[in-house]
């Protein structure tokens, strides 16, 4: 039975207004709406489309973190994932730890494909998919805007969004693919599917059971708001501009 493993992350809703905690230790998460990372939603949608086109048989959603990530897994199940795995930990997870946990899971589940969002909108690290491929020694195709699976040949053709335009490459399966914005438009979770999702299983694992050490390697020293944008000033003459560039901006 061929599977695709989709990793989803519970992050602050893309629409929510964010504030820094008064002690500058991080972002204030109290009373803030949380949802599935938009790129992860696109990954789930792509996995579901692969299953609907019979390229794979099963879609398995995975999330890592405290008890609340089960809400995100329920959303993935409501969209149509077959089953879910919750790796339970209270520890703050860094991209490398996530990649190690997903690698351990991939070795267990033996999927044909690992689908991840290209980055999470809270960390913006853009590292997990790449590190996962490295740990598994699997080929990787990141920033995918189009995915075509050739089951018979055991390869995937992926169009990537790069700075210069679009790059199309082909890689052997199993592979890691990370999704970019224009890959697809995620489907809505319908009420009947939400009801069905309540009955689907969420398997629970811990990092210890997977044999992964998730202690933090990095310490956040301070989180600050970006500098307030100052209003623009209308100048009267070129001489004034030169003077301001020299005296205030100090660039000439």
């Amino acid at each position: 039975m061929s599977k695709v493993l989709v990793a989803v992350k519970r992050v602050i809703d893309y629409n929510a207004r964010v504030r820094i905690k008064p002690d500058k230790s991080g972002v204030d998460l109290t009373n803030v709406k949380m949802s599935m990372n938009p790129f992860c939603e696109i990954a789930v949608e792509e996995a579901l489309r692969l299953r609907e086109s019979k390229a794979v048989d099963e879609v398995v959603a995975v999330s890592l973190g405290p008890q609340q990530v089960q809400e995100t897994l329920r959303t993935a199940l409501a969209m149509g994932a077959d089953r879910a795995i919750h790796v339970s930990t209270e520890q703050q997870l860094e991209p490398l730890a996530v990649a190690k946990l997903l690698a351990a899971l991939a070795r267990r589940e033996q999927p044909l494909l690992c689908l991840l969002g290209k980055q999470a909108i809270d960390g913006d690290n853009n590292q997990t998919g790449q590190m996962l491929a490295g740990l598994l020694s699997w080929p990787q195709a990141t920033f995918a805007s189009k995915v075509e699976l050739d089951k018979a040949a055991g390869s995937a053709k992926v169009t990537r969004e790069v700075d210069g335009g679009l790059e199309t490459l082909s890689c052997q399966l199993p592979a890691v693919i990370t999704t970019d914005l224009r890959l697809n438009e995620p489907r809505y979770a319908t009420l009947p599917n939400i009801m069905k999702a309540k009955k689907k299983s969420i398997a629970k694992l811990t990092p210890q059971e997977l044999g992964v050490d998730v202690t933090q390697q990095l310490v956040t020293l301070q989180v600050e708001e970006p500098a307030q944008r100052k209003g623009g000033v209308v100048l009267g003459s070129v001489a004034q501009l030169v003077e301001k560039l020299h005296k205030e901006a100090k660039v000439i």
């Binding site: 809703d13 009373n31 709406k33 809505y188």
Partner: protein, 602 residues
């Protein structure tokens, strides 16, 4: 159950005629009409014993009470609750000084179980009111007045965020087995051949602006229920259609409902300006003597301050902008002193009922009932509606349980009417309160500010609400608007960006968002009317009263004449346009579920 579904579908085929004709009258191309015919295909149905529309205090109290009784009686009845906001609490906005009377009935002894790890440990009732103040404001000063007895909150009531409380109630409801579905909008009421309500249809998702289906198109579902409770808040879209369908106002001989628009902000203020527990109310400036309303400043916990202005929507001057009046309120020295140096966290606006007892329609109809502000139980002089909404939810939940239990035991099928719900409400403390308060608000529309206050004093102190007369609401709010040429135009100063802001900045803080690629949910019965009536005769009042900047008049490129532009994406779901449009040309319909404001601490 299958038969019932067929009946509902057949009933909707008939309604489809109306749907198609509605489509033609709004600004949508012909392609949409054929889609409507396609949509007559059978939709998926979900079956429930009780369906509740709206995850507000009324709806959640009804669901929780229902499940409590199910547990006591060992009956397994199913309840679902749909909410158009993206999460519970996202569309809830309220002052709010909370009277825990109904909460005490729903959870007796909750205050004794607030220790760590106990059931009510994280119930968000953290700040008790410690002081009450009442001021009359003039342009530059404030005069302290004695507290009206309705405003005595000290030591009894809590200053809360209703968004937080409803989120807590929803979590509790889910734990009790209620299916809570945020992100799903009730689009249409479903009727059967007996003209009874048999459920609610949720809206289709993934329809493009021109009415065609997008690749992500997902049809809504028909939520079939033996009983449906409507708790959509003031001027709810389905409640309005129910009142029209069954003639609920006429049946009760009720006056038209009157409303006010409440604009609110939550600020984080410097420590020195924060007095936790202070409950402050104002009358007077910036509103003139013929415009009803008042302001509030409530000091919550954690350096947070809730402040806002309530403006009666029966104001006469069409160039009045409640949003700008709110900015003027913030400029007043009394208010500015509290918020200067602070940060505005959230902004929002919502209409509230002011009609009181006189405007309550017939509450129950075959297959369902109205609860909470959809019916209109807000106590205007107290400006509290949460406790009465919760009580109506509790009573409705109890009566629903009883009625379903009786029907099950007797093996009776067919529509159920909650006759006892209305009877019990009439003898409850809700009606006692509203009875005592009934003559206060109408006095202000009859005699202005000073006459109103004199009448209020008479009714409150001397006659204590026992006067034998009941002042009626003479007209609906939109009928009170005078022509633009008969009123002095109102000029408002520019915002300073520190304590006062322009609408786009405030809108950003409400977190409001809609998928832009959907048909506009604000439907004009006559699309040409704004250019012929609203703009020339009234100066385009919708551009002034909308607190979200949805309506704008822009010069048409071809003709140079002003044309109404509707930025439906900005909508805060406040319903002011539905209430105040001079010819009632605007119908507020529900947009795609999950859109709208995202209040978290309002």
């Amino acid at each position: 159950m299958f038969g019932l579904g067929l009946l509902a579908r057949a009933a909707r085929q008939h309604q489809l005629q109306c749907t198609v004709s509605r489509l033609f009258s709004s600004c949508r191309p012909l392609a949409a009409a054929t889609d409507a015919v396609q949509q007559a295909q059978p939709r998926e149905q979900l079956q429930y014993d009780l369906c509740i529309v709206g995850a507000g205090p009324a709806g959640l109290s009804a669901a929780i009470r229902f499940k409590q009784l199910c547990k006591e009686d060992n009956r397994d009845l199913s309840v679902c609750l749909i909410e158009k906001g993206s999460e519970v609490g996202a569309h809830i906005l309220s002052g709010n000084v909370f009277e825990p009377r109904a909460l005490d009935e729903l959870f007796p002894k909750w205050s004794e179980q607030q220790g760590e790890g106990q059931a009510f440990a994280d119930l968000p009732l953290r700040q008790k009111a410690t002081a009450d103040r009442f001021y009359m404001l003039t342009q530059g000063s404030s005069i302290r007045l004695p507290n009206p007895p309705q405003m005595k909150n000290r030591g009894k009531n809590y200053i809360i965020s209703l968004s937080e409380l409803t989120r807590w109630l929803a979590k509790h409801a889910e734990e009790q087995g209620v299916d809570v579905f945020p992100g799903f909008a009730g689009k249409e009421v479903l009727y059967d051949w007996h003209n009874a309500v048999v459920g609610v249809a949720t809206g289709d998702m993934g329809i493009a602006k021109d009415g065609c289906r997008k690749p992500s198109y997902t049809p809504g579902v028909d939520l079939m229920a033996r009983l449906t409770l409507f708790g959509e808040g003031a001027r709810g879209s389905l409640s309005q259609s129910l009142m029209q369908h069954y003639g609920l106002r006429e049946a009760a001989g009720a006056s038209p409902q009157t409303y006010a628009l409440g604009l609110k902000e939550v600020w984080e203020v410097p420590e020195e300006q924060h007095q936790p527990g202070l409950v402050l109310h104002t009358v007077g400036y910036p509103l003139d003597n013929s415009t009803y309303g008042g302001g509030w400043i409530y000091h919550m916990e954690g350096r947070r301050v809730s402040l806002g202005l309530v403006v009666g929507l029966d104001y006469a001057n069409p160039s009045l902008s409640p949003y700008q009046e709110f900015q003027a309120f913030k400029r007043h020295p009394l208010v500015a002193a509290t918020i200067v140096g602070g940060t505005c966290l959230q902004y929002g606006a919502r209409s509230l009922n002011e009609g009181g007892l006189q405007s309550i329609p017939k509450l129950a109809f075959p297959g369902g009932a109205l609860i909470g502000c959809s019916a209109g139980f807000l106590n205007t002089p107290k400006i509290k509606g949460t406790h009465t909404a919760m009580k109506s939810g509790i009573v409705a939940g109890e009566e629903a349980f009883r009625a379903l239990g009786l029907a099950d035991d007797a093996g009776k099928k067919g529509p159920i009417t909650l006759r006892n719900y209305a009877d019990r409400m009439e003898v409850s403390w809700v009606y006692q309160e509203l009875e005592r308060a009934r003559n206060i608000r109408p006095g202000f529309s009859k005699w202005g500010l000073w006459g109103g206050m004199a009448n209020a004093a008479l009714s409150t102190y001397l006659l204590r609400g026992r006067e034998p007369w009941t002042l009626k609401h003479r007209h609906a709010d939109h009928e009170a608007t005078k022509l633009a040429r008969d009123c002095p135009p109102k000029d408002y100063p520019k915002p300073d960006g520190v304590t006062t802001f322009d609408i786009p900045t405030s809108l950003y803080r409400s977190g409001t968002n809609h998928n832009h690629d959907q048909p506009p949910h604000l439907v004009l019965a006559d699309p040409g009317l704004p250019e012929v009536v609203n703009h020339p005769q009234y100066g385009g009042p919708e551009a002034k009263y909308c607190p979200a900047g949805v309506y704008e008049y822009a010069a048409d490129e071809a003709s140079g004449r002003p044309r109404l532009v509707i930025n439906a994406q900005n909508c805060l779901h406040c319903k002011a346009c539905s209430i105040k449009d001079p010819r009632q040309n605007i119908t507020w319909t529900v947009p795609e579920g999950g859109g709208g404001p995202n209040y978290t601490i309002m």
